[in-house]
Amino acid sequence: MEIIISNASKLAIYEQIYKQIKDKIISGKLNEGDLLPSMRAMAKDLRVSIITTKRAYDELERDGFIYTVAGKGCFVADKNLDIIKENYLKKIEEHMLEINRLAAICEIDDETLANMYSLIKEEH
């Protein structure tokens, strides 16, 4: 599993880990029932403190993305990912409405908008 930690990010390290694992679960890269690396192994591999990975895992469990089986480890939960996806779709719609509003104020046409979006996709 690929997790990239950046010292330069505004997010705390545990937040970065949390976010990346959550995104993988939502996007389907991690499937329900998958076993996550132990907190310890991840801490050692990422060169971070085990308290940090534990915190990330604790929050993932609190938010229902993973669950712990004593003696075995942490597994991806079978949370209804469709609900999460729906929430994200709603958020995308909201952002699009805002883009629409701002574009109208600046008089930016659809083509320019599309180009801007392509550029952003390329950079990220």
Binding site: N7, A8, A12, I13, Y14, R40, A41, K44, R47, V48, S49, I50, I51, T52
Partner: protein
């Protein structure tokens, strides 16, 4: 056992130096870095933990055993030790050290030892006095890692080493604690070495324990801002720990949570933070 080492109200008085009422508990399974400038008391504390030196006041438990009790000799079977100066007799070579350690440690693992010797590229027949400082340290480390120890106590194991050797040694620490039963207590004045490996940082200054915190939490708790005088005035008083003025403005050491939004923090290394923590009043 929750703590690998329990330091209870330890004081040690020397001529002109006092280690003053240190209370510190090292959680089992963690890597704890002890930092502080030269002469701060790091080696003194480590000697007290290992029983090399006796305290003026207080007591220490290591791996659930009082370090003044008779049973402590047996506990040392599980403790790997690296001290800050070379400690083997000059005329002895690696093979002879192996022979001595076989008779010293019940769980001495010859294969593991020679694997480390190979990994660290140490010559088998050369006398110890002909080893460079880096090689001496690596040998001490090889010994410490070859008897199934569950606690490593190390006093400045990386000082005097080049960056490559230091990196290699820190890697070995990280691997050692992949097993959750293993704990490391390591002192160093090279804070950057500890940045990658440690779970907790203990900072000692002039014989006093200034702080003991989770390393990652320190980055969230403390921050450094570079500000103009005007910007400084908009900062809440209780956020400021200390400030330094230079020709171009102010450098301010702050509690992150108390700083209002809109400020951009400088990228601070662990060393930057610890150096500034000297201004904390505990």
């Amino acid at each position: 056992m929750d703590y690998a080492i329990e330091i209870n109200n330890i004081s040690k008085q020397y001529k002109g130096f006092l280690l003053d009422k240190i209370n510190l508990n090292i959680p089992k399974g963690s890597i704890v870095g002890l930092v502080g400038e030269n002469g701060a008391g790091k080696s003194t504390l480590i000697n007290l933990i290992l029983g090399i030196s006796k305290p003026t006041e207080g007591n220490i438990n290591v791996l659930d055993c009082s370090n003044t009790s008779k049973e402590f000799t047996d506990t040392k079977q599980n403790i790997g030790v690296v001290l800050d100066s070379p400690c083997y007799p000059e005329a002895i070579n690696v093979k002879q050290i192996n022979n001595i350690m076989v008779l010293t440690y019940k769980n001495w693992d010859k294969e593991v030892f020679f694997e480390y010797i190979k990994k660290f590229k140490l010559p088998l027949d050369k006398k110890f006095k002909d080893f460079s400082k880096g090689m001496q340290m690596k040998l001490s480390l090889a010994v410490a890692l070859s008897h199934k120890a569950t606690l490593l106590v190390m006093d400045e194991p990386t000082s005097g080493l080049d960056p490559f050797a230091r990196e290699e040694i820190v890697e070995n620490f990280i691997d050692f604690t992949r097993d959750e039963n293993n704990t490391i207590f390591i002192s160093s004045h090279i804070i950057s070495d500890l940045e990658k490996a440690c779970d907790y940082i203990a900072y000692i200054h002039n014989g006093k324990l200034m702080l003991f915190e989770e390393k990652d939490a320190m980055f969230e708790k403390y921050g450094i801002l570079k500000l103009s005088k005007k910007e400084l005035e908009t900062l809440p008083e209780d956020a400021i720990i200390s400030k330094k003025e230079n020709n171009f403005g102010f450098e301010v050491f702050v509690y992150r949570q108390r700083v209002n939004r809109g400020f951009t923090f400088e990228h601070a290394s662990l060393e930057d933070i610890v150096i500034n923590c000297i201004k904390l009043n505990k």
